[in-house]
Symmetry: C2
């Protein structure tokens, strides 16, 4: 992770006009309380995000996507031993039940959103690479949209800005970034950075021992394959083909979008697995999908 310049993006607070409306609609349709890092970064490149969201929105308003997201969350559980319960060590640090409850509520929102964003970025990634992002052979009509509203009990999330964080939090965010070979801290870890005791214990005991191991990679691969299968079965294309992208971007912008979608697809796969595992650590092995 760079200790220097922030990765280029249009943060929600800085968005205006068509992009702000797109950010708002994305959160409303997906029922998530944040705009993914990928969309904020892609927003730097021409008209891709508003146009790609316009393609995706009718598909993502269907129950089909909600069911697919539920299934992906189940597939994100790593094989092998369940993670240790972080509560005893957290209690020793003076981080008690109230703090754990706050973290657990945030994890609910993150888990809800990550699986949806994984489907969205997979559709966009497949589309811009010239493969199907839905609507292929079925010819099925779009199902009626479910009511667009934040999911019940979805708390607003606060993303810590690494530039404003203290040394301990900066160190933790650098550690999580380098652990995954990411280019910066994900939204999810910027949320968890609000509770550095939890983030530190999670890195030491829940995530550090498993990230980038062979079972982790195998799980990411299976999750990606299943996400692609869901995308291909979408009733209509949820991404833009290279030709469609060129209608709203320059050639160089399409190249940039292609690279960033590939990077962020892996990024979201990792974070999806991580947040499910954090929830599993707090809930015990029997109920990782709350």
């Amino acid at each position: 992770m760079s200790a220097g310049p922030k990765f280029p993006q249009v943060e929600y607070a800085d968005s205006t006009g068509a992009l702000r409306r797109c950010y708002d609609d994305m959160q409303s349709v997906l029922g998530v309380p944040w705009v993914m890092f990928a969309a904020r970064s892609l927003a730097v490149f021409g008209g891709f995000v508003p146009a790609a969201w316009q393609a995706a929105a009718p598909v993502f308003a269907t129950e089909q996507v909600a069911r697919a997201a539920d299934e992906l969350r189940g597939l994100a559980v790593l094989p092998g031993a369940a993670p240790p319960d972080p509560r005893p060590r957290l209690a020793q640090l003076g981080f008690g039940d109230a703090g754990v409850a706050e973290v657990r509520t945030a994890l609910d929102a993150l888990n809800h959103g990550n699986a949806r964003y994984l489907l969205l970025i997979t559709a966009w990634c497949e589309g811009v690479q010239g493969r199907s992002s839905g609507g292929g052979t079925s010819g099925a009509a779009l199902a009626p949209a479910r009511p667009a509203a934040p999911a019940a009990g979805m708390a607003p999330l606060h993303l810590v800005d690494p530039r404003d964080a203290d040394e301990r939090v900066t160190g933790l965010l650098t550690r999580v970034t380098d652990l995954h070979l990411h280019h910066g801290p994900s939204s999810d870890f910027r949320v968890l950075a609000r509770w550095p005791d939890f983030l530190e214990v999670a890195l030491d005991d829940v995530l550090g021992p498993v990230v980038r191991t062979a079972p982790y990679e195998t799980t990411a691969l299976a999750l990606l394959d299943r996400a692609r299968a869901h995308v291909r079965s979408f009733p209509a294309p949820a991404g833009l083909s290279p030709g469609q992208a060129l209608a709203v971007c320059t050639e160089a912008e399409v190249a940039a979008v292609t690279g960033l979608l590939f990077l962020f697809q892996r990024f979201i796969l990792d974070v999806t697995i991580d947040m499910v595992r954090c929830a599993q650590a707090l809930d015990g092995p029997s109920s990782p999908l709350r």
Copy 2:
């Protein structure tokens, strides 16, 4: 793979001025007869390629890189059964020893270059993500450069342009692209497209059964880890930090470069494994590293 627009890049034949000099020096120092797709695509974004190559060139002129590349090629051999010998089926197609010898010569050049380009892109990727691309703690001086010249016996390579190819070749290049979930055909497969019989048999029997399986992913992961370890031990940084990249690129260009480096790092990992396996298929299991 897109059947439509070509992925933005500056081809060797279209390069001029500082970029052409950079392309020539890269081929001379690395002893390779082609400029990697990654560099041709990154060349679209500001001054990144010439500046990043300027950082890398003294390191890549050392024997240390040549030895690291040799080791990586050995690690690119997949575990499990050796690939079947493609010659009997090729002979049935009328593709005889002379054709096989041409392919084998091309594979030598590709294997020589892929491992070097994997190290180069890993250094650039780590650097732009704010991690070490060499020169960390050792303080060792740069070893004297070895003579810069094309490696002995290195044949010039011809890359087929997918836009000029016939239906069969286009179909094969689309197949190889989608098999790997790539965004377009690599230089290596554009070279092999000159011999569509070989490419078809390789896809059917040598690569198709293994690409993106769990052992393939595990091999790619190990190869990446080892490439990163080599890069960290380089005597001087061979990549640009985010701050250094910002001296030759806009913020948006740095984001584009970051995404494309991530995409092409995985791309080169795949292609490195694939070409070693093609050589192994022709040579038998005992000598995959010729």
